[in-house]
């Protein structure tokens, strides 16, 4: 009984810590001895000029690329050692849309649901409704605008069960209305003890949720 209880406490209070991170691109050092720590309910907004290494940092946190030095730990364990467990808690949306343009909106959403099953009941139509594309379900994604493609790739936010969201320029190409929707979604995620790391060049309104800015 107590073991189960303890586990749920740990589940509720997750922590991501980076220690002495160093990243190189070619022979140029992008950043050195970077440290941060993020706990449940917090958002970290990474800012920096173009080429400062924001995307590289995000990719290192996801485990897609390895830092030259330093470690990242999730609940006190190195993410390389618990890759599987960490990936279950991770939602990463990069600046590439990862939407197949050969398929229709419906098929892309079906694939999303197939690969990232969620507890929340909801049909494809509901999901399309939440990204505002319910009238374009049978349209091929090659005929969508940049903003609409972005909406399809952000659809995962609405069915996510993952704790840690890593978003690379999530607001790029979106219209004002949908930016509001994404902000609301992020606020709800943080309110339910989730955590988020994101990069953005324009400000993002996270309401009263805890957030801090990290300058690269």
């Amino acid at each position: 009984m107590s073991a189960i209880h303890q586990q749920s406490v740990i589940q509720d209070n997750c922590q991501l810590v980076a220690k002495t991170l160093t990243c190189e691109r070619g022979s140029r050092i992008l950043f050195e001895n970077l440290e941060f720590s993020l706990s449940s309910g917090q958002a970290m907004i990474i800012q920096g000029s173009n080429g400062a290494g924001k995307t590289s940092l995000l990719r290192i946190i996801t485990g897609l690329s390895q830092p030259v030095g330093g470690i990242i730990s999730w609940n006190q364990q190195n993410i390389e050692k618990i890759a599987e467990e960490f990936q279950k808690q991770l939602l990463y949306i990069g600046h590439l849309a990862a939407v197949k343009t050969e398929l229709t909106v419906r098929e892309n959403l079906q694939l999303l649901k197939r690969f990232w099953p969620s507890d929340t009941e909801g049909s494809i139509a509901d999901l399309a409704d939440s990204i505002g594309l319910h009238q374009r379900l049978s349209v091929s994604c090659s005929r969508l605008s940049a903003g609409q493609l972005r909406r399809v790739s952000l659809a995962r936010l609405f069915i996510s069960t993952q704790k840690l969201w890593i978003l690379d320029e999530p607001l790029m190409a979106l219209d004002v209305d949908f930016i509001g929707v994404v902000e609301k979604c992020l606020q709800n995620h943080l309110k339910s003890r989730g955590m988020a790391i994101l990069t953005t060049h324009r400000g993002i309104d996270l309401g009263e949720q805890a957030s801090f800015i990290f300058d690269l």
């Binding site: 996801t62 690329s65 590439l96 990862a98 197949k100 050969e102």
Partner: protein, 221 residues
């Protein structure tokens, strides 16, 4: 295993949508084989002697042409990194992608080869060995090719480099397959060749997915 089937389903669905792109290597195969009787000589003896080699070399080049499709578009639109971040063994992901590639290129080639072989007066009593060598060896071609492609993904013009990387490894497969067919044409025992090719297939199927996972890691760094 759920992951394996999901990826297989996804890749096959995409292959059907991209059938024009997919048909390219198959059309290449048909054209090259049918040009031989026109370009070399319509002489029956000469053509039937050349047939195993011609069919095999063309099938090999057609497979090589199609290799880039395995990871390229997924890499370019960011889907590959999303697939790599799926929780679950990466080996299954790679295995499914290689299987899908073989189903969309290797299998059609196996269907086309016997038909095209008739153009070259290929002796019908050796048809069985042609199909068997293709059945065993085309998966090996897909497997070997996937490593080369995975290693050169991040390079802008990786096409030529990966062909150069892959080709030397294709040569033993080519040699043993055509030797098996020639033996069968001359009514000599062929089981030794099949066993060797089969061993090659088993070893590559067991080891190559690990190599591809490592190669993708290198490409993403």
């Amino acid at each position: 295993m759920q992951l394996f089937y999901s990826i297989l389903y996804r890749d096959l669905m995409l292959a059907i949508r991209r059938r024009r792109e997919l048909a390219n290597p198959l059309v290449f195969f048909v054209i090259v084989v049918s040009l031989f009787p026109l370009g070399v000589s319509p002489d029956q003896d000469l053509l039937s002697k050349m047939a195993p080699g011609v069919i095999w070399v063309t099938a090999l080049l057609a497979t090589l042409m199609s290799m880039d499709a395995m990871f390229r578009s997924d890499y370019d639109d960011g889907s590959l990194e999303q697939l790599l971040l799926l929780p679950g063994p990466k080996i299954l992901l790679i295995g499914a992608k290689i299987t899908a590639h073989w189903l969309s290129i290797g299998l059609p080639l196996i269907v086309l080869a016997p038909i095209m072989s008739l153009l070259l007066y290929f002796p019908t009593h050796a048809m069985g060995s042609l199909i068997i060598t293709l059945l065993i060896s085309t998966p090996i071609l897909s497997l070997l090719g996937s490593v080369g492609i995975a290693l050169t993904l991040s390079l802008r013009s990786g096409g030529i480099l990966s062909s150069l990387l892959i080709l030397p490894f294709y040569i033993p497969v080519l040699i043993f397959s055509t030797m098996a067919i020639n033996a069968s044409v001359n009514s000599l025992p062929v089981s030794g060749y099949y066993a060797l090719l089969g061993a090659f297939l088993i070893v590559s199927a067991l080891l190559i997915p690990f190599a591809v996972v490592a190669a993708l890691k290198v490409s993403y760094n």
